[in-house]
Symmetry: D2
């Protein structure tokens, strides 16, 4: 089986490498050609266009930045749909809206292909270490068939239901990510105003029922004042907006999530949109008068 990969950014680059490491025959495409150079050095060929990529692939993986890119790369002249062979499996691993997922699936199926939505939980480091959790929506038999390929990039495949259930699951998990980060920030600002030591707080959190890997990671970053991005404020904000928009359509009030969105909004306003999401700590710290 030959695998085409489109989108070689922060996440896509290590994911595509892991597909090669898993023994698959890879071919890549990226709009910015310089990003394909390291793959050429590894002997991985580059397609001349999305349509060309599609023609040479049995399975096609998308890891692009949003719904506009996804739909444009499918539909444009010399796009994926023009080259799609009957039966080719298109796997969208980028995080987009539910609506964009449904539209991409419909386009692919109308062109004779098959579609899975498979966004991932985990950011740069898990992408490098192939420990992503892959949230998949689609036909169960097709998921079974693609599972070995997916597991070259992650440690676990979660079957979420029919398309766009993978994307729905991703929104649910990112709601949790965005809100827990704010909780941690509020707890640490509050504790520090009470005179508690940062290390002692993190040790306490790590010892009980609230221990989560996220808190260990982000707590350490806050303690060190290191806001180098793993998952930036801007993307959390984008995801919480997707969540709140969907929740508005569904009639699902989310008061805590709504309050948290405003913390990220403030972080962006303060110029920290491209810093790690842990920068919400700085917002609350500043609000508390420092």
């Amino acid at each position: 089986m030959r695998v085409g990969f489109i989108g070689l950014g922060t996440m896509g680059n290590p994911m595509a490498r892991n597909v090669v490491n898993g023994g698959y025959d890879l071919i890549v495409y990226n709009r910015t050609a310089s990003k394909t150079a390291p793959f050429r050095h590894m002997g991985v060929p580059t397609a001349s266009s999305p349509a060309d990529l599609a023609r040479q692939s049995d399975a096609l993986i998308f890891m692009v930045t949003g719904p506009t890119d996804l739909l444009d790369l499918l539909q444009r002249p010399q796009g994926i749909l023009e080259g799609l062979n009957p039966g080719t499996v298109v796997i969208n691993m980028s995080t987009v809206s539910l609506d964009a997922t449904r539209r991409a699936a419909a386009l692919v199926e109308a062109a004779g292909g098959r579609f899975l939505d498979a966004p991932v939980s985990g950011s740069k480091v898990p992408a490098e270490q192939a420990t992503l959790v892959i949230l998949v929506g689609g036909d169960p038999a097709l998921i079974d068939q693609m599972e070995p390929l997916l597991l070259t990039m992650g440690k676990k495949v979660v079957r979420c239901g029919a398309v766009p259930a993978g994307t729905a699951m991703k929104l649910m998990i990112n709601l949790l990510l965005g809100t827990m980060m704010v909780d941690l920030a509020e707890a640490l600002v509050f504790g520090s105003r009470l005179g508690l030591d940062m290390e002692a707080m993190l040790e306490t959190i790590a010892s009980g029922a609230m221990a989560a890997p996220l808190f260990a990671l982000k707590g350490k970053a806050i303690a060190q004042g290191d806001y180098t991005k793993h998952f930036p404020v801007d993307l959390v904000f984008k995801d919480l907006n997707l969540v709140l928009t969907e929740a508005g359509s569904l009639g699902c009030p989310l008061p805590a999530t709504a309050a948290c969105r405003e913390a990220y909004n403030a972080a962006r306003a303060m110029g920290w949109g491209d810093e790690d999401m842990a920068a919400v700590f700085k917002v609350l710290d500043r609000l508390a008068g420092r």
Copy 2:
């Protein structure tokens, strides 16, 4: 060393048993005499009054329901202070306000005793299994001396700073507890409205950076509709009020915590105050139109 224990409720009962199991010579007191019966059957003597308990103890552990009980049991006629021997260590493990902690410490020290504040993280099951995390404020040498006793009840002693740092740490950790529970509830209501399966959501949460023991426990309870209390809504609400009151004095805005307090407030209004804190799920589920 003889240990006196006052307050044999849901938490105090198993904690006192674990002190005995740890090989200490125990004596107990409880206002409601029936609660001392199981200890008499184990051969543990009962004091006739708090003063009597104090007279017979080298270390005294409080596990009562709030600041009023703590201060009253110390100060009233035939109270602890009347019987306190010089040098006796009073360890308050109940969760009270910072102010009540400071006042209790001052009273004990004025009467010649020594004081530690040592509230616990963990509820009924960890109390039974002696896996509590014990958050201790006080003189480091005194903490060292009491650590073996404390470790009969818990798996870990965290040194938090001077009195009332144990209580401050407890408030910080319960801020996290109360907010994370609401986050989980919002995530699960949102996901279920998107059509996701409850088990699949819990599996996904358990697989990534947001995995916390709390979510496994409470997620299972929600999936089964079992709101038998481990830590009831009323107590979370009480603790979040303590947090927000302290935060108001400190000038420390906590917008997400404030939003979460209202979810517990609603749970109480709906008659679920004595159910497990996981009942906030039902509030959000009802708000979403069911």
Copy 3:
């Protein structure tokens, strides 16, 4: 000057009548032809298409339901742009997004027309009584020229700045509308739980610095349990979403507005989306355990 009017709904119908009452020569167009019947009976002619309407008009007023309608009626075959005479003034009085306003203005100007954005503050009754407040963005000289026409429909023209400042002003004022309604609902639910009489509360509010016509109107509706729509929950929710989306782009955190959005979200979830915005009272009343 001949005036074309497009969109004869709940707001547009009385507004168009008031243009006639103001002595202007009117011509109308509506997709649903039945809505033009009462105008034909008044002797007001009906255009056969938007393009036909445009050909016969010196000024064109839009009062449609949203950005999609506005842009579609401009651009489609036989649309407004096809028939637009050089120098015709297009006045959009519908509430749309800032972006849609900018796009409509650009389309009109590219076709040789001139553009004002002029959304209104006030709902059905002020539309009937010609007491709307008209929030206008555009060239000051052009606003001066159109002011007599606008004042047939309203009591006041507010000059807001260049296009799309009228729409910006409308979003600002609707932020205030949506949040004040929730404030009133919280105050009345809280007061009623304290045992206060509804009439006494409304009298108190009406007597002091918080007296606003909105509170008199909505307070009476709540006291009578009459949620017949003047401005429905669904439209407030739509407007608060527009506000929060713009505020997200601008980096402008709005924590109270975000909390209020969720109250309208809940009202929709409970099936009250088409009732008057005062129905948020019922959400808070239910949350408080009734």
Copy 4:
């Protein structure tokens, strides 16, 4: 009828003057003796103690800073209760908690007096101009009897129900005050980020259903950057805490009020607690990145 007045601060001073202007025979008491000097110059006698004040008064008005002062001035040695003549009417016009009101009423009645709770809506300027709205709880016949006295200080007496209904009404109205101020701040920050002119926004608000005297007053202050206190942030914060505490006891969730409390909390943290409540504008303005 001789009237005793206790508490000659920012509010009490002009209120006591208006009692004199209304033709009543006044006697005053104030802990800080300097505050009685202007009254001595007007020929108003000063009592030597609260008990002395009570002995010489047929009606006694309290305008003190909080529940501690109220209860202490009643109960302490040489306090009001020691000198209270049978049938003397004690009118508490200070804003305190419901509980303190109930306790003050019980103390006064046990000492043979009668009690009204009569907090006021309106701050310094209405106090000077005798245009306060007086919110009264108590026996209707007694209210009728005291109405002429009360109307020397205000323009309107609202009958709220039995004690402590006046205080309940005051909490309800201050909920509205605190939240509307935040709404205005959010609207003006949002509008200013959209490029709208402050004067144009205030004119628009003043023209429609949201026009409230509060907005005219506070809008002007914000436009001029003048945060001289009329009603300071600290007092609004205190009142919202009273509201949220009562609402917590009642089981009455107030999500918007809770969000607004945090804005005042932030204003205090930034050092603006003693500035006018309009300073919440500066919090939101800073959050929005300036």
